[in-house]
Amino acid sequence: MIHDFTCTDVRDQLEAFHDGELTIHERVALQNHLGECSVCNHVSNELSSIGSTLRDLAGLVAAEEPVERLRISAHVIERLRVEEQFSIRAQVMDWFQDMHLVWAGIGASVATLICVVGSASVLHAASQERPNSMARVISVLASPGSNDNPLRLNYEMSAPRAATDAAIEISEEEVEYALSAVVSREGRVQGVEVINQRPTNNAEVNAMLNEAYRMKFAPATARGDAVAVSMVWLVANTTVKGRHDVDIQVLRQALRLQTTPAPIAPLPIPPDAVPAPRPHAAPFMKPVTPEVSSSAVFALAAGGGD
């Protein structure tokens, strides 16, 4: 490829041309232009003369100062040898030549020591187990199945079984509670909470929770090891209606038959009898039958009569 250079191009490339940084095609094209254009040729000659004059000068200076006479090599080798010999000792001597450095060094050592002690104490304080410390959180997370990090039950585990009679006494009727709880590795119940509703009867619920805490379980096991697991515990108090109800009716009937009170109306006066003074509440106070069981009924009747 032959370049067709204008004078501007040539001026831009002239230095690279002189420095031998152009491709062969560019060189040829540029030389062609220099042959034709006297202005560019003049600029080129100026550049050449700078270079040649500088080289002349350098040659002159070099002739003035024969390097061989300077014995640089001998000096360098000698000093290297000496340095090698005395390097460590010289360095140590240098350190102690200026006592400022020694004091600074001692100061730095003391400061470092204080820093180390300080950071060690901080680390020591940090490693003590506090429930909200990072170390504690990490150790809890690192040990699934511990009492603080209970597992969810899955099919690979055996579920915890109640060791004691798992009945909780509830006086309230017709009520269901869902409790969330953790069964620990030792089989104890922890962290029981009512989760299905807001407890309305606090005393009742507290009593139930106390019962729940007293329960004892055989802990859940996973691959033979006891693990803490979360569980949901349903407590329901259900009234079963059946023959029991009928018995009470029969019993009441029987009781009523036994304890029927005397009629409340005035007794018929026998014709031969002297009219007696009118009694006040005497018939009600006088038990008709001496049985104790009827007294309650009487008292009830008396209360109702008033």
């Binding site: 230095e15 420095d19 500088l54 000068l57 002159l60 200076v61 640089i72 360098v76 080798i77 290297l80």
Partner: protein, 201 residues
């Protein structure tokens, strides 16, 4: 942009690699060989950059100490020569900062060398006395102008015109991009050319 530091051990050559390995092991003959092989180059560059013989001699020794101290870090990222140039330039740059400040007044100008020599070696058949005088005048002016150039421009023009390094080698020696080398060269040449035009309008 072309990276100036991307050459390999191939560039260095087997003999040089072996020499470097022996120098790293502090073998005295190898060290002597390395120094004697490069002392002329280093001393002349130092002389051109600093313009003082004693200073240049001192700098040359320092350069070789620095070379031996760091030669175990040399991984053939350039030719050994270019690497030594780089060390030399860095040290000269550090030195000329304070040296220029302190000794500016009694600095010996190198045109004394020219005067002492009396005449310049003439290229070709140019032997007429008046032409010779003109060339001497020119050389003196040019040397002064070179001496007054900023350090970076002086370094670039010396490496290019006297030591004959390529742009890439100069870029590595100075630790700059090739574009920077080109622009510094242009500026240095502009200054020197103005100087030339004053001498022979």
């Amino acid at each position: 942009m072309k990276d100036a530091g991307a050459l390999g051990w191939v560039e260095v050559g087997h003999h040089e690699a072996a020499l470097i390995a022996r120098c790293a092991a502090r073998e005295p003959t190898a060290c002597a060989e390395l120094v004697s092989g490069h002392e002329r180059m280093v001393f002349q560059l130092a002389l051109h950059l600093l313009g003082d013989r004693d200073e240049a001699l001192d700098l040359s020794q320092e350069v070789f100490f620095s070379v031996f101290r760091t030669i175990h870090k040399f991984r053939g990222q350039s030719a050994l020569k270019t690497w030594i140039y780089r060390i030399c330039i860095n040290q000269a740059r550090n030195r000329q900062r304070w040296w220029r400040r302190r000794h500016k007044a009694d600095q010996v100008s190198l045109d004394q060398h020219v005067e002492a020599q009396g005449d310049l070696r003439q290229p070709g058949d140019d032997t007429a006395p008046d032409r010779a005088y003109a060339r001497k005048q020119l050389a003196e002016r040019l040397w002064l102008a070179l001496d007054h150039l900023p350090f970076d421009q002086r370094t670039v023009i010396v490496l290019r015109e006297i030591d004959g390094l390529s742009y890439e080698e100069i870029a590595f020696s100075l630790g700059v991009a090739i574009g920077t080398v080109k622009s510094r060269l242009t500026r240095a040449r502009q200054t020197l050319r103005d100087e030339l035009r004053e001498v022979r309008p």
